[in-house]
Symmetry: C2
Subunit: 206 residues, 2 copies
């Protein structure tokens, strides 16, 4: 398998998952600085021009929640094994989707405002609200979602790879992670894991 | 099970899925006109103050992609049975996530701009770009994703419930669905299904 990623993007979550399960894969850096995600070659892999993308023998998979579950499902004896109970699996998916469709979207209004507006004043208005929307999302995560020590409780899961990735964005979004002690402790716990440490440098994270 | 929905929202997708599988459930309308989604009672069910939400004997599930898969997974002998192959399941999830995190988000910039900005000029700038972003998303769906006759090919799936729901928003977003003949034919095909017809009226759709 070939895993396409870019520095300081959500692709870190799937990259951690691949390391956690001991997947047989190679990494391919997509250089956003030179707009490589818009090249004809890359659009042939992912027509959306985004990362992550995972090229498998059956075809290419994109979208973080889909990829995380695929990686877990194809490694059923790993630490990321999925819950067999449909309700437990739904709660895992619910968490991933909240990160994907609400929290990541809130964050994207800081740097990717041109997706939704064309004028600079509106982009500035978007950037201005990001500290508030991200803090509100993490308040909900802290109080309602993160059970501890891991997102889903005692069992480590793909949700942990994903939460850690997005909690790394808080400082840049001008949100003090220490307002959320459970989230901060979770991030510290993740940084102690060997599979996490192996890929942080590739993503430009100290 | 109790299914919480609101008129003209994404909750239609899960409502169709419940009907398609013949689920044992009751519907509960959440009245957005009176801000019922922000009431203490409803926030006790879904602290996010959104729909859909499904109250099961094990607890409440939210987020459309999580709900759709839960409904399908708990009805394995139904028309919405999930593919057993992990890659095929990942493609189903990839499609749902594109609708959730990109297409629905594009659409939300027309009516829900206050999620991301506070000033009216920026909200107007957001509304102005919605026809373009929705058309771009549906171009990609038409050309790259919708295999026909159903989203995933020959097999009907939860993706069809979801695509139909969002393609209903195009007219309001000032996008002519007839630019996308495969999407338009898909919507017409969906409207012929008895389970779909049973819930359209509840959602204020003719």
């Amino acid at each position: 398998m070939l895993f396409y990623y870019a520095v300081k993007t959500v692709s870190l979550a799937s990259h951690i998952a691949l390391e956690e399960v001991g997947a047989d894969y190679e990494s391919r850096l997509v250089d956003f600085a030179t707009q490589q995600q818009r090249s004809a070659d890359y659009l042939g892999i992912n027509p959306k021009g985004r990362v992550p993308a995972l090229a498998t023998s059956q075809g290419v998979i994109t979208e973080t929640p889909a990829l995380l579950v695929y990686i877990a499902q194809t490694h059923p004896d790993s630490v990321l094994a999925l819950p067999a109970d449909p309700f437990a699996f739904a709660k895992l998916q619910e968490f991933n989707n909240y990160l994907c469709a609400t929290v990541h979207v809130n964050h994207a209004h800081r740097m990717r405002g041109s997706r939704w507006v064309d004028d600079e004043a509106a982009m500035a208005a978007m950037r201005a609200k990001v500290p508030q929307t991200m803090a509100e999302s993490f308040r909900l995560i802290e109080e309602e979602m993160l059970r501890g020590p891991w997102v889903l409780g005692e069992d480590f899961s793909v949700c942990d790879c994903y939460l850690f990735t997005i909690s790394n964005w808080l400082a840049g979004d001008k949100v003090d992670i220490d307002q959320f002690p459970e989230v901060a402790a979770h991030a510290a716990r993740m940084r102690e894991r060997e599979p996490v440490r192996r890929v942080l440098g590739l993503h430009g994270i100290e």
